[in-house]
């Protein structure tokens, strides 16, 4: 049962990492424009255009 003392905090750590990752995506505004993000993959990068 001693293994529990290691596995339980370990799995909690993994869970917390997921929450932290979600919090990061939220802060980065990744849910602000779902329609645009879906469409943006179809658009060529603006860097591809010749330098003006």
């Amino acid at each position: 049962m001693d293994i529990l003392m290691f596995l339980a905090p370990f799995s909690l750590g993994l869970g917390l990492m997921a929450v932290a990752a979600f919090w990061w995506t939220l802060r980065r505004g990744q849910y602000e424009d779902p329609a645009g993000d879906a469409a943006r993959i179809l658009v060529d990068d603006p860097e591809d255009r010749p330098l003006a």
Partner: protein, 726 residues
């Protein structure tokens, strides 16, 4: 009434937001951007405008944010011109601080959901062995206590964090000496946590940490749906308002033109109003002559001629000539004050409306708390001991917790409003849908509601039409535009000169011709109809008459409303003749003409005194009072700002069918919500006695709670699935 919006050519500097680093940014609303192609094109082209550092389009909210490089010349006009060349309308957008605060609330809710989700998954990890122990599997008391400690250490902080929105709201309502739905939720969660901890410490059998967190998780989803409904409605309403000429053109020293937000106009400022623009504030004409369309203000469709020295009202549409106005009031206190008071009165009566969920809560809260208290007292009394009695009381609170009310009603409302949104109807709040479902009498305004609110050419001789068309095509006047529309494509007159407030003059096939008011062609006006005269120099004069065309499906909509058992009447500010004609075409017997805004509102009050629940459909400023006083109100998207604010729902498009669709969906939503309450009541009738008798353990509670939430949510998704076919 279609508001044509000409991109202001003047200075748009008022909408530039200066950044600390010396750069500036500009927000534009581009409502027609729909696809990846639009987005790529817009971002690419706008980025090539000199001075622009970055252009990014949010395809979900249709907002283009343009950042200007620091030190460079920031020219919003060039950006607007570029968009115009690409074929997109753009409007400067002034995102208010309120919208930002709203978004912060939404993010806090999402984060609370994430924390609750983490809590649910990780307490479940420790709950599963505990549940297994409940069914006779081997689990020593020491291991069980360890598992309970783990689940408490993870679950309790998550529950306390995720519960904050509920605890805060409950505290606010308790301070106001009322009990809303968040009071039993908060008491239930806190009591459960306390009981679970004491059981863990005492080495007991039942800990409900997982139930407390999963309850909050489900309720937070409902809370977030509600929030999204509000946020989307308010942002869509803000978009509509942004499209309605948010600027005024100020004439400064030496005739320099500057464009300023309407809110910055002060009495005494001189304004320029071009043909096709709405008057931003009340004012007196300094110079220029034109005709004004006051239909949104008075309901009368016939244009009114104005000249220097005359007073005109905000909201009137300038039809033909350039006008210079001296502002006599700020936009907040234009002649609208009296109507604004009516609207405020109506809004107060609406805020007293009690929503279904609150009605249910008023019954639910005392019943559940009495039952829990009785369980505790009764259990102790029959000799269970205070500890077992408290566990059972907590179990009662947990299993009866109001998922159906917290989750199902928002789910129904968001499904209903999403379906309506796809059909071009904007729902401002969930309460609006509930009020709409109760309506049994419909009052229509005439102009712009039953009719299209813009002139159409009446039957005429095709030969005369073909003669006048070349001149009509060259003019910007709405009547000429209607004439050109009737004539179709064709040649244009040359040497065209517009005479403001009079008409247009030009050369067709070498002959000089005039199109305009009767006086412009030297003839006497006939009758009261809206008319336009045409004639070649020294030749016969031809008269064209115009009428406001009916919306194509007005009669069918009236019939459909009748079929649903609703009374229908027309209340208009226009003259008897046109009102009677429109009422007859729409199939309405009850109509009243020449109503002032106050009389309209009074009529709504009278109907309400008769016990009727009235739906008002109107667009004009003269309807705003009635819209606010009615039980529910719908305005077309072309209505004035004040009317849209007073209405609960706003629909767009050429047809009136959305009124029936909205009514159907609202009634459907009400039925679903009632079904959900019925289900919740049935569920509690079974669950509460089971909990009182001690049959509920943490496993049963978890299954029962998520099961009931799933059922009510799936039921909510059925809302408004039926299509209304005309």
């Amino acid at each position: 009434m279609a508001v044509t919006y000409d991109a202001p050519s003047g200075d748009l500097g008022a909408f530039l937001k200066r950044r600390d680093d010396g750069g500036a940014s500009l927000d534009l609303l581009v409502p027609d951007a729909r696809c990846a192609g639009c987005m790529g094109k817009i971002e690419r082209e706008v980025a090539t405008v000199p001075g622009v550092r970055l252009a990014r389009l949010n395809l979900t909210t249709k907002r283009l944010s343009v950042e200007f490089a620091q030190g460079g010349a920031a020219d919003p006009g060039a950006v607007m011109a570029t968009l115009g060349k690409l074929g997109y309308r753009a409007t400067p957008y002034d995102p208010s601080a309120a919208a930002d605060a709203h978004d912060r609330e939404g993010r806090a809710l999402i984060l609370a959901i994430a924390v609750a989700g983490f809590g649910v998954m990780n307490t479940m990890m420790f709950s599963v062995p505990l549940w297994a122990g409940l069914f006779g599997q081997e689990l020593g008391p020491a291991t069980r206590t360890v598992m309970m400690w783990f689940s408490g250490v993870v679950g309790a902080p998550c529950a306390l964090y995720a519960g904050m929105p509920f605890f805060r709201s409950a505290w606010r309502s308790l301070k106001a000496r009322r009990a809303n739905m968040d009071v039993p939720i908060s008491i239930g969660v806190l009591l459960t946590l306390v009981v679970s901890f004491s059981e863990t410490v005492l080495g007991g059998r039942d800990a409900y940490f997982d139930a407390a967190v999963s309850l909050l998780f489900l309720l937070l989803i409902g809370r977030w749906l509600e929030h999204r409904l509000r946020a989307r409605a308010s942002s869509a309403a803000a978009d509509l308002l942004a499209l309605q000429s948010p600027t005024a053109t100020l004439v400064g020293e030496g005739d320099a033109l500057t464009v300023a937000p309407v809110s910055q106009v002060r009495p005494g400022d001189v304004l320029l109003v071009r043909p096709g623009e709405r008057l931003p504030v009340d004012g007196r004409v300094v110079d220029g002559a034109s005709e004004l369309d006051n239909s949104l203000l008075t309901g009368e469709t016939a244009p009114v001629a104005v000249g220097a020295g005359e007073v005109c009202r905000a909201g009137a549409l300038n039809l033909s000539g350039l006008l210079r106005l001296r502002a006599e009031a700020r936009s907040e206190d234009s002649a609208l004050a009296a109507i604004a008071r009516l609207v405020e009165l109506g809004a107060q009566s609406k805020s007293r409306y009690v929503q279904l969920a609150d009605k249910a809560a008023a019954i639910y809260v005392p019943v559940v708390h009495t039952v829990a208290l009785l369980t505790f007292a009764g259990g102790w009394f029959i000799g269970l001991g205070p500890r077992e009695a408290l566990i059972r009381a907590a179990a009662v609170l947990i299993v009866t917790c109001p998922c159906a009310l917290g989750l199902a009603v928002p789910a129904v409302q968001i499904t209903a409003s999403a379906r309506l949104f796809r059909r071009g109807v904007l729902v401002k709040s969930g309460a609006a849908l509930e009020r709409l479902a109760e309506v049994d009498h419909v009052v229509f305004d005439k102009t712009g509601v039953l009719t299209e609110g813009r002139p159409r050419l009446r039957d005429t001789c095709p030969a005369a039409l073909a003669m006048a068309a070349p001149l009509a095509r060259a003019s910007r006047h709405p009547l000429a535009h209607a004439l050109a529309e009737a004539a179709g494509e064709g040649p244009l007159a040359v040497d065209v000169v517009e005479h403001a407030g009079l008409g247009v003059e030009g050369v067709i096939d070498g002959r000089r011709a005039r199109l305009g008011r009767a006086g412009f062609l030297g003839v006497e006006s006939h009758g009261s109809e809206t008319e336009l005269w045409f004639g070649f120099d020294g030749d016969l004069r031809v008269r064209f008459t115009f009428a406001d065309a009916m919306r194509p499906d007005a009669a069918r909509v009236v019939a459909a409303l009748r079929k649903r058992g609703l009374g229908v009447e027309v209340l208009s500010g226009d003259l008897e003749g046109p009102v009677a004609r429109v009422a007859e075409l729409a199939g309405v017997d009850a109509w009243q003409a020449r109503r002032t805004p106050q009389e309209k509102a009074a009529r709504i009050d009278a109907l309400r005194a008769e016990g009727k629940r009235v739906l008002m459909v109107g667009d004009g400023l003269n309807d705003a009072g009635a819209l606010a006083k009615a039980h529910a109100a719908i305005a077309p998207g072309t209505a004035l700002e004040a009317s849209q604010n007073a209405a609960d729902l706003v629909f767009s498009g050429e047809v009136l069918a959305p009124v029936v669709e909205a009514l159907d969906v609202a009634r459907d939503a009400r039925a679903r919500a009632l079904e959900n309450f019925g289900f919740a009541a049935l569920y509690n009738l079974v669950a509460a006695p089971a909990a009182m008798l001690g049959f509920v353990n943490p496993f049963v509670a978890a299954i029962a709670m998520s099961g009931s939430s799933l059922v009510v949510t799936l039921n909510a998704l059925r809302t408004g699935a039926r299509e209304w076919t005309s």
